[in-house]
Symmetry: C2
Subunit: 225 residues, 2 copies
């Protein structure tokens, strides 16, 4: 289990206490920020008409609040405010290939956040939240692209979820069966890493040929995520 | 909207009917298989003690059934059989960078499967399901690694979820605002692709130096996912 950081610990409720895999659990605030900063798509779990829905959606995190959004007509978003949701962000880092199938696993970093989302209605906070969300995936785009009009703002539902109740699970490193009888089987064991990187920019087909991409996008193309 | 395939159509219940983003919805069985085949980690949404949990977990799909597993002590797995769950598999393919923030989006492929999981108790089916699950992420490993013992089998909960009630959402291609007044803003627009690939094999530190990795893993290292 990762040592706690000097920062504010994450809450430790019945929901986020790790009953199993305790060695993988972490309550480190800086690690949570790092896991959230490394992604931009979460899986939002919400109950709609009595049934669980798990919806992938983009998010932004400012360190204390997670923002997500969608059309005001979206079922999962309309159902969210006032009910407890679970938002999970997962990065898969590789396959853990042990000597036995039983010990196979995944190297990953995953954050789970529980809470009751709040519908953001204040226009200033809504713009700040949408800025956070836009900058999460493409830093520099908020200042470059055309910002939302009043009509577009009205058509967008923005939800804010506190990061106070969160938990982390992280697994790194090689398989654990090197000190078991399986090590004598003569089988290869190790990790097959999974890497994610940005590709080359693909201009829209209808773009004027003379239009060069802005530096913040040029820098990002080809970079490792 | 993608044209339906000649294959068996996915069911079209109230839950999986696309109320929004209809153009992105798909009921194509072959496309579902392709989305599931391209991954090995899903997000399982399940209600535990009245609260939604969204748990990342590995899966295997044989075209008609999705298998997932875990410790028999896992809360999310114990809660699953007999209740409706939602399993979502998502691949993020790139950022859609439009002229306006409002038209920004993600190119992605996502499958959502609803159903009541069945706890697999038959030993033969359990082995077949675990084989499917192992081969999903690392084809060739089931025949290479040591298979589960009876004791390991007993400690593993395997769940089977029918793929009958599923839906797909897929977005591909450039941003859509090339024919709006925003096209006159002189802003770059296009797609920043996100690529996933397997890295180089990392032998376990305690592995005998003479032990070479098997061909099925050597082939996979460096390959695009």
């Amino acid at each position: 289990m990762t040592a706690p950081s000097p920062g504010r610990p994450l809450s430790h409720t019945e929901r986020t206490r790790h009953r199993r895999l305790r060695e993988q659990g972490s309550l480190d605030r800086a690690e949570l920020d790092a896991v959230l900063a490394a992604g931009f798509v979460c899986h939002l779990g919400v109950t709609v008409d009595g049934t669980v829905m798990v919806v992938p959606t983009v998010y932004g995190s400012d360190g204390s609040t997670l923002y997500f959004h969608g059309s005001v007509a979206s079922r999962s978003l309309v159902a969210s405010p006032g009910t407890t949701v679970c938002v999970t962000v997962t990065h898969v880092d590789g396959l853990v290939l042990a000597r036995s199938v039983f010990e196979h696993g995944i190297n990953y970093r995953s954050a789970m956040i529980y809470g009751v989302p709040r519908l953001v209605t204040d226009e200033e906070e809504k713009l700040a939240g949408l800025r956070c969300l836009t900058e999460q995936s493409a830093p520099g785009q908020w200042d470059y692209a055309r910002r939302p009009s009043r009509k577009e703002l009205a058509a967008t539902a923005l939800l804010a979820l506190s990061l106070d109740e969160a938990s982390l699970k992280i697994r790194t490193g090689p398989p654990d069966d090197g000190d078991t009888p399986d090590a004598e089987l003569g089988l290869w064991a190790g990790v097959l890493p999974l890497n994610t990187s940005w590709g080359a920019l693909e201009p829209a087909p209808d773009l004027a040929a003379a239009l060069a991409p802005p530096p913040h996008l040029v820098r990002r193309a080809g970079a490792v995520v």
